[in-house]
């Protein structure tokens, strides 16, 4: 199994959700996040005093998938998240040892 994590622009959430549903993903976790990549943040001015706001709002989407689907799913997420402008975010995957469905106790791919 793999855990796919995507940190992307908040306004792409609906597109990504729809693309994942079309792909056949049953569940996901969404968290509000903040951070920056190469684009850094922005500057705000209050009575002439300039504040640099480094961290910009992002969302973090996490999906557990079978190994065979991982590469394809990453492509699906990247395609749905892309706007072509700076700050589009990152997607990565990590291996997962175990997953358990709490209600039934099923393990491994059955738990997805």
């Amino acid at each position: 199994m793999k855990l796919i994590t995507a940190v992307v622009k908040p306004h792409r959430l609906d597109e990504i959700k729809e693309a994942l549903q079309a792909f056949g993903v049953h569940g996901l976790t969404v968290t509000e996040a903040s951070g920056y990549g190469r684009q850094r943040g922005h500057t705000e001015v209050y009575r002439g005093a300039e504040y640099t706001v480094d961290l910009v709002p992002k969302i973090r989407i996490e999906v557990l998938v079978d190994d065979d689907d991982a590469e394809q799913l990453i492509e699906v997420v990247v395609k749905a998240a892309r706007t072509g402008k700076i700050g589009d975010g990152k997607v990565w995957s990590v291996p997962v040892d175990t997953a358990v469905r709490v209600r039934t106790g099923e393990r491994g791919p059955d738990a997805l």
């Binding site: 705000e44 009575r47 504040y51």
Partner: protein, 455 residues
Amino acid sequence: MPPGITIAADAPELSAANTGFMLICSALVMLMTPGLAFFYGGMVRVKSTLNMLMMSFISLGIVTILWVLYGFSVAFGTDHGSLFGWEGDYVGLSGLGINQLWDGYTIPVYVFAVFQLMFAVITPALISGALADRVKFTAWALFVALWATIVYFPVAHWVWGTGGWAFELGVIDFAGGTAVHINAGAAALGVILVIGKRVGFKKDPMRPHSLPLVMLGAALLWFGWFGFNAGSWLGNDDGVGALMFVNTQVATAAAMLAWLIYEKLRHGACTTLGAASGAVAGLVAITPAGGSCSPLGAIAIGAIAGVLCAMAVGLKFRFGYDDSLDVVGVHLVGGIAGSILVGFFATGGGQSKAQGLFYGGGLDQLWKQLAGVGAVLAYSLIASAVLALLIDKTIGMRVSEDDEVAGIDQVEHAETAYDFSGAGGGRAPRTTVPAPGEDGAQTTAQVQRNKKVDA
């Protein structure tokens, strides 16, 4: 306040129209203090919002009581040496008949006293903006009481009281440029020089937490200021109040636009905080001047004050004094600008016959204005610094550094402004008490409270 304009032969009678107008103006001025609370409250960080609101609000409590007990007497009683007043009938407002008129006017003394009370309330509240995040609430309450007694009441007498030296000299302060704004601005500077900077000043970000609150506060101030200014003629018989109303509006508009233009050129954006600050700067500047200048003069005064104040708010970073919310930059600088510009823009056709430099009056009015500005500035600065020092040496002015960092709202008020609690944030209060016999008997009040909770 204007000098008596009636002659003995036509003694004034109570005017229902003027009395009603002045009661409404008094209520408008009262609204400025909670307006100021929101103006300041939005500008601080989340963790100090309530403290900022309370520092203004407490003035409504403390100064009101002092005013009735002796403040009105010190400010507007019979003159003693041109420095302060005293009048036994004014103490506790007890020796006054409900129909007794304010000398030379068509409104009762009660109405004049309550209108002036609202000025006395808001002036110390103005100072609090410089002290955000770091002053013990009890120390602040004590400061308000002492400052009102030692600084505001006498200065109001100098400027507006019959026999007060500035009044007799001919210093024009229509509605409070010196007595209110320079007074509060200089006091703010005096106190912050004693108590020092916030922890993290110039290092930590201290962005305003709610600009909508700031805008709400500025709007309430603007609205209430019509009472503050247009009411200061104490009646509506000759159009001076109307001139003041017009000038208040146009100067405020001009100052807001001037601040925004300065900001756009200097920093690249027209900000919300700039619009709110510019409006307040215009209101401050027109306060002393609006009864004596023309509407075109008011536009000039507003625009000059808008730019000057926008420039002045950056001084704290350059000189390193921590005037948290720019009381010095907006009220002191704006008040000085307006008071001095009277010496240039007074037309001679408003509240006073005095003419400014631009209207053929020469330097006469200008030097009087400078004398008024300088005296109030110096007295308030020194007296306020001494008061702050005394309080600091006795009960202590500041909260501990840990408490300041953690947030003054929790430490001083046992509350927080907003509920951001997520998982595990806060527990419900205990709503049931043990049954009688288990852990002692319940009182009747406890039983009733429990019934309400159960219902």
